[in-house]
Every structure is written in structure tokens, then in C-alpha cells.
């Protein structure tokens, strides 16, 4: 019988300390779990957990505080950037992050996110864009693609009637207060690795006091898209990537030579 010698083995991958070891309420195949994990890994690597305060939003990630293992507050719908502003202004030496979906961030919370960015509020925003309202059951969001069917655009988003989707990162990157704004995607391992680097860069922005930082993460919503998890990643790649290009929209000059 073969034996394995564990003595000389090195731990190269483990559960992040910033993430509690518990099952989430997220649907199978949803990329919220991936996004949570990336944020937790980055906070661990930067040794920031003990000084971090999170702000959860309203949507599927309303319970994010059940999974992250650091101080957390839960904001009214769309108001996370304002709440985070209050926290950060009181604790300028702490790390403050918001975790918001697209309905929360760029529909009901458009004013709060825009002004937080304009003020150069030194917070980090993790922005989950899955092109619909997940928690309430898949309604049309500001990010829903033209022609995309949702429960409140059953014949597909008609731009003549419902208007056009908002490219949030591009819009916020026009503001002088923004220090770091990029869009990444969570549809395959390569892009997930790139997303993690971006999240690292966003927190580096905050640590350095370089202003508002946001990583937009294109994400899947298999349940409300009525697709299997694998099909959902393909749908994202084929439909969302052409409309929402992955790019760096704003990178503070002081960040340009950083590498991880």
C-alpha cells in the first residue's frame, strides 16, 4: 500500500482568513462567491483584515457580511457609498469597502456613487454587474443589454421605450476624483486572475490615499438568465464582453509601476 509523506508538504492554497468558513446563500454557478473569495484573498495578502470595515448593499449581496470576517454595516438600497463616506471620514486610517450590485449602484444609487467618486472618496467599491436585478427575481437593470429578456422586459429590452444601458466604469472614470476604475470579468480562470490583480490594485489605491477606486466585475446570474452555470459563462462572454469592454478606464499615475 502506497503511503504519502505529508511532512515536507507546503500549504499553497487555503481558505482565506477574511472569509468565514460557511456555505453561502448564493445560487449554484453564481460568481458572487468568486468575487467574495478574491476580495478576501487580497485583504489577507495585504494584511488588512483587522482594519477593514465593509459596507453591504441591497440585492443578492445584502448578506455579504455573513461571509466576510471583519466589521460590517448594511446600507439602504443604493446608499452604500454615502454610508462608506461616513465611515471613512470618521476612520480615515481604516480600509473601507462597499460591495454593490448593478441595480443598487447605478440605478437607485447613481447619485451616491457618482458623488463619492467625484469627491475622490478614499474607498474601494466592488461592483458586480450581472445585467439584471438578481434578488428580486431577474428584472431589467440599468445594465440590462438591448434586447435582453428579463421579467420586466419580457419581450427583450426595447431601447426606444426603456432607454439604453449605462457603462458605469466609463462614466465614473471621467471624474477627477477617481483614482482607479477598471472593468474585469469572472467568466473563466484567466479573467478571474486578472480580476484579482485589479482588486489588489484598488485596495493599493486606497492604502496610498489616491482617491476613489472601483472594480467592475462582469458576473453571471444563471438562475435569472435561465441558463446552466456553464452556459451562463458563455452567455457573458458572447453578449456582455462586446458591450462592456474589459479595460482600465482610470489608473492613477502613482499606480502605474506597481506589479503583483
Amino acid at each position: 500500500m502506497a503511503t504519502t509523506n505529508f511532512e515536507n508538504m507546503q500549504v499553497i492554497y487555503q481558505h482565506p482568513e477574511s472569509l468565514l468558513d460557511k456555505n453561502t446563500h448564493y445560487c449554484p454557478g453564481c460568481t458572487h462567491g468568486v468575487a467574495h473569495r478574491l476580495v478576501a484573498e487580497v485583504l489577507d495578502e495585504m494584511n488588512l483584515r483587522d482594519k477593514t470595515i465593509g459596507v453591504a448593499s441591497v440585492g443578492c449581496s445584502v448578506f455579504a457580511y455573513n461571509y466576510f470576517d471583519f466589521d460590517f454595516v448594511e446600507a439602504p438600497h443604493g446608499r452604500a457609498p454615502a454610508m462608506a463616506t461616513g465611515v471613512k471620514r470618521v476612520h480615515p486610517d481604516k480600509i473601507v469597502l462597499t460591495y454593490q450590485g448593478d441595480g443598487d449602484l447605478i440605478s437607485i444609487g447613481t447619485g451616491e456613487i457618482t458623488h463619492a467618486a467625484a469627491r475622490g472618496e478614499n474607498i474601494t467599491v466592488i461592483f458586480i454587474n450581472n445585467a439584471n436585478y438578481g434578488m428580486t427575481g431577474g428584472q431589467m437593470a440599468p445594465t440590462t443589454l438591448p434586447g435582453q429578456k428579463t421579467t420586466s422586459s419580457p419581450k427583450g429590452r426595447d431601447v426606444e421605450q426603456a432607454g439604453y444601458p449605462i457603462r458605469t466604469s466609463e462614466m465614473l472614470a471621467t471624474l477627477d476624483g477617481a483614482g482607479y476604475i477598471v472593468r474585469r470579468s469572472l467568466h473563466d480562470p484567466k479573467h478571474i486572475r486578472q480580476a484579482k490583480k485589479a482588486i489588489r490594485m484598488a485596495f493599493e489605491t486606497q492604502v496610498r490615499g489616491l482617491g476613489f477606486s472601483m472594480v467592475e466585475l462582469l458576473s453571471t446570474c444563471p438562475t435569472n438568465w435561465h441558463l446552466s452555470p456553464v452556459e451562463a459563462t458563455h452567455w457573458l462572454e458572447e453578449n456582455m464582453l462586446p458591450f462592456y469592454p474589459l479595460d482600465d478606464f482610470k489608473v492613477h499615475p502613482a499606480l502605474k509601476n506597481l506589479n503583483f
Binding site: P76, R79, A84, G86, R89, K94
Partner: protein, 374 residues
């Protein structure tokens, strides 16, 4: 300390600063704006947090964040701004974090006007935000009283982890009066144990939220809030009585209306009319027991307000129909003159009290004529 001439809005701002205010967030709106302007230089000079928000929604949620973060925090606004803040107030109540709001009330509904009014009584005292919660609401009648009240609000808010609202009629915010400032308190240096101020690796994490998805958990929170409210009802009743010892009937009015009524009561006393004034200062909790006790001694209550009789309903409830109640009010930013109230006091003294119908209906029946004659 010496008495100095203060503008109401600036006086309450300075009183908050001296009470150890750490973070202020606000938005310009008349007739409150001087408070925001005062804070904009005063707090940075002291190394404390001032921020002008993008809206009242932003301001109240910044206050919410700062309150969760453990700071002594407040905002000031006026009626339409208070309407916008109702969302945040409900969340703050549900999260059980302390904060102070000063509402400098103006005429409404809608955009209304910028003249003094008391039409926010219902939205502040009887809710406004969704769900079961009760903020403490204090209504001063002078700048000195406003200063003294604001100075104490943070201690009260922290004692119960609740919202304290100071309801200032626009007149108190805008006028100037001599007032003595209380001494400067030191800013607190330790964050409360419950605050979301980061663990520093020294404690379990704190989570502050108003969501309780299981109705049973929500109900337990509701119960806790109501038990706290019972304590507040027991401990925080405030009112002031004038000429009440030998009074046969009492005018009841809060804030500026109470102050105008006092002039009328003094004039009536000079004419030998045995009238007193009962002025609630805490309109929430409302001095129900005191009103009820007065029904044994009084022939009637004459309620005076700068609205359509919002506190009137509370007086009717508290007096339990034991004695007649009469009402006189002006709305929309119109302040009553002492003479208007004196005229009613004389009438009640001469004609006695009517019991039929609702006092609001009796008042409305004559208001149109009063407005037309002016």
C-alpha cells in the same frame, strides 16, 4: 460664561460642537442653511469632520455610516429635507445607532415656503419612516432652550442608542437672541464597543444591520425597541408650566406657538382671566400622564399650533375626553399673533366650553373668515 447674541441656527451648531460632535454631514436648505455654513468652518478648525453631501439622502446615510462607525454625529435640515431623510431614519432606528437631527421646520406641504411652521409634527412624532420605531423629539421655544437641549441630545441618543430629533420652528432657527453657551466638552477618544470601527485584531467582528429576514428575529428587535421606548417614556418627559397653579384652564402649545401663547396668557392674566400655559418640550415621548392629571383641575384645554392640529390629536388622546378641548392654529408658514390667541382665550372665558363636534371642525369653520379679514 457670558450671554452673547446668537442666531438660532448658529447657536445650535455651536452647542453641538461643544457637546463633542465629531462628524457633521448636511445639505443646504432654507431656513436651516446657517447651521451648515457654521459647521463648514468650525469643525475643520477643530480637526473634526464636516462634509457637504450631494443630497439629504446622501447626508443622512453619511450620518448613518458615521454613527455605525462610533462617532457623535448629526445633520441639520428643513422639512422637505426631513422627508428625504425618512428612509435613513428608519434604517438608523432599526440598526439602533445613536444620532441627532435638527429639523428647522418650514411651511408645507410640497415645496411650501421658508416661513416658520410646525407641520412636521406628524412626520417626525408619528413616524414618516417605515416600520415600528419612535424617535425622541424635543421642541425648544427659545434659542437658549435650543442650545441647552442640543447640548444634551448626544448623551440621550447614546444612552438609548436611538435617534434624537430637535424640532425647531423656522423662527427659532432664524431669529437672534442672547444665549449662554455651555462649556466645551472633550471629544471622545474611544470608539464604542458595538461600533463598526474595525476589529484591530482585538475583538470579534461587529455587524450593524437593520435586516432580520426571519420575522421572529425582527419581532424580537421590535420588542427590544419598544422596551427601550418604554424606558424613554418613563425618563425623558419634558415640559414647562406657566401660571398653572391657580389656572382654571390651560393653553397647550409647543415651540414658537407655545411662546406666542405665553404672551397671550400673560395679557389674559393682566385682565384677570385664570388661564395657564402647558408647553410640552418633549413632544415624543408626549407628556400624556401630565395632561391626564391636569384634566382633574382644568375646565378645558386650548391647543395652539402652527399646523392643522397635529399635537391636538395627542392632547385629545391623552385627556381621554374628560374635559373639553378647543383648538386654534395657523398653517403654511403663518405665525399666529398673541392677539389672535388672546381673543380666543377671552371668548372661552366669557362663553365657556363647547363639547359638540370636533375642535378641528370648529376651528376650520372660522379660519376662512379670519384669513379673509387679514
Amino acid at each position: 460664561m457670558t450671554r452673547e447674541l446668537w442666531k438660532g441656527n448658529e447657536a445650535i451648531a455651536e452647542a453641538a460642537v461643544r457637546a463633542g460632535l465629531q462628524a457633521y454631514f448636511g445639505y443646504p436648505i432654507t431656513p436651516q442653511t446657517e447651521a451648515l455654513e457654521y459647521m463648514s468652518w468650525r469643525l475643520p478648525d477643530l480637526g473634526r469632520v464636516f462634509l457637504q453631501a450631494e443630497s439629504e439622502l446622501g447626508a443622512i446615510n453619511m450620518v448613518y455610516g458615521a454613527a455605525c462607525a462610533g462617532a457623535r454625529t448629526m445633520t441639520t435640515t428643513s422639512s422637505p429635507g426631513t422627508s428625504l431623510m425618512m428612509e435613513g431614519l428608519s434604517y438608523i432606528a432599526g440598526t439602533e445607532v445613536p444620532m441627532v437631527l435638527v429639523d428647522v421646520v418650514r411651511g408645507g406641504p410640497g415645496l411650501g415656503n421658508i416661513a416658520p411652521a410646525q407641520g412636521d409634527y406628524n412626520q417626525i412624532v408619528h413616524g414618516g419612516g417605515h416600520g415600528d420605531y419612535h424617535p425622541i423629539v424635543l421642541a425648544p421655544a427659545s434659542i437658549q432652550e435650543a442650545v441647552d437641549i442640543v447640548y444634551q441630545t448626544f448623551d440621550i441618543a447614546e444612552k438609548y442608542r436611538t435617534i434624537v430629533i430637535v424640532m425647531l420652528d423656522g423662527s427659532i432657527g432664524q431669529m437672534m437672541e442672547p444665549a449662554e453657551m455651555p462649556p466645551m466638552q472633550e471629544v471622545r477618544k474611544v470608539w464604542p464597543a458595538w461600533s463598526a470601527s474595525s476589529t484591530q485584531g482585538k475583538r470579534e467582528r461587529n455587524v450593524l444591520t437593520s435586516i432580520y429576514l426571519d420575522p421572529k428575529d425582527m419581532e424580537k428587535t421590535n420588542l427590544r425597541l419598544m422596551k427601550t421606548w418604554q424606558q424613554i417614556e418613563k425618563n425623558e418627559i419634558r415640559y414647562k408650566e406657566y401660571f398653572m397653579d391657580d389656572a382654571k384652564f390651560a393653553v397647550v402649545g409647543f415651540g414658537s406657538a407655545g411662546r406666542v401663547a405665553l404672551s397671550a396668557v400673560r395679557a389674559a392674566r393682566a385682565e384677570g382671566i385664570p388661564v395657564g400655559l402647558f408647553r410640552p418640550i418633549s413632544v415624543n415621548p408626549f407628556p400624556k400622564q401630565q395632561i391626564l392629571a391636569l384634566t382633574d383641575k382644568m375646565d378645558g384645554f386650548f391647543v395652539v399650533e402652527m399646523n392643522s392640529g397635529m399635537m391636538l390629536d395627542d392632547v385629545l388622546l391623552a385627556s381621554q375626553g374628560r374635559i373639553p378641548v378647543e383648538f386654534y392654529g395657523r398653517m403654511g408658514g403663518v405665525m399666529p399673533f398673541p392677539d389672535e390667541i388672546l381673543r380666543e382665550i377671552r371668548r372661552l372665558h366669557a362663553e365657556g366650553w363647547k363639547a359638540e363636534g370636533h375642535p378641528r371642525d370648529r376651528w376650520l369653520a372660522k379660519l376662512e373668515q379670519i384669513i379673509n379679514e387679514e
